[in-house]
Symmetry: C3
Subunit: 132 residues, 3 copies
């Protein structure tokens, strides 16, 4: 019932568009009308939905969240990646997308993005598709 998408990030911060991979899982599931739950089982990566037409938007999101939550800021966590943990909670760990006629219902400019905040790493995203 729960499916996995494997992701290999290539830099410390990276927005990876996984819309097509999630749509493939919806198509394979044969669910026509339902709900798609997407969950990130990591603590230094998040998931969001945002514009996938101009890649500058994803770049701006990464650059600005780096300003809001600086990588170094007197954190206590000895692993040194507290900024990544904080950004994961700010973006969120899960998304819910509706499914109609076998398609994810997204706005014209929307894509589903895995947000790597402490890469490069091998990651996974869990997907569950429930028919109504």
């Amino acid at each position: 019932m729960i499916k996995e998408i494997k992701i290999s990030s290539r830099s410390r911060s990276q927005m990876i568009d996984i819309t097509k991979m999630v749509q493939e899982l919806v198509t394979e599931s044969d669910v026509k009308n339902g709900t798609c739950f997407i969950f990130v089982p990591h603590t230094t990566a998040g998931i969001t939905i945002n514009e996938n037409a101009d890649p500058s938007v994803a770049a701006d999101i990464l650059k600005e969240t780096d300003k809001i939550v600086p990588w170094e800021d007197g954190y206590k966590h000895i692993e040194g990646n507290s900024a990544a943990h904080i950004k994961a909670s700010m973006m969120g760990l899960s998304q819910v997308v509706l499914v109609e006629n076998g398609r994810l219902i997204l706005g014209t400019w929307q894509g589903i993005y895995f947000c790597e905040f402490d890469g490069p790493r091998t990651r996974k995203v869990l997907v569950k598709i429930l028919g109504d």
Copy 2:
């Protein structure tokens, strides 16, 4: 199954209480116990749940998020509205609210807010209500 709420925002940043409109859809659906999924199919608007008693709270949320994510900050995205994209991801694109006895289960002071970050525009919110 998926219903739409139409929204016309009147300023660049605006919190619009849509609780009554969502409740009307729950009532029409005849679902007594279930789950209500609310989704924003835009990339420069979000959705959140917060206090609807004192309108100053919504005003403070908008003013403070403007400080956290300034409108101008050396963004690359040529459309010039990157701040709105970032704020949309910070607030989130969807909400899940439980339904019991035909009512949205919200706290005493909670209202559901559509968050316009790049208005004024004509917008929509998607709502799906699933019975248990």
Copy 3:
């Protein structure tokens, strides 16, 4: 169908790990495969999922969000706790966690945290577990 977890926070800002309490409700529900919806019916508290191995991570999240959203910042809301309202919306009011074989499906280091931003207070978290 909707169950409650009671929480007593002890300071103004506090991350409280409620994973075990949520898991107990999943176990009691007898749902083997399903979806767990967790909702905070308050406007100055949120809920997130983050590392529960090193408690410094939770401390860093609280300290950094205090920097991002200062307690005093010229807010209009007369109750004086606008920062708590803003942080609640930033973290989010609900989480969705998948359930398989009667267990919450969380990553190795993930725990579910109730985020108190205006305590100490008596709080509650709503939990609904739906079998597939």
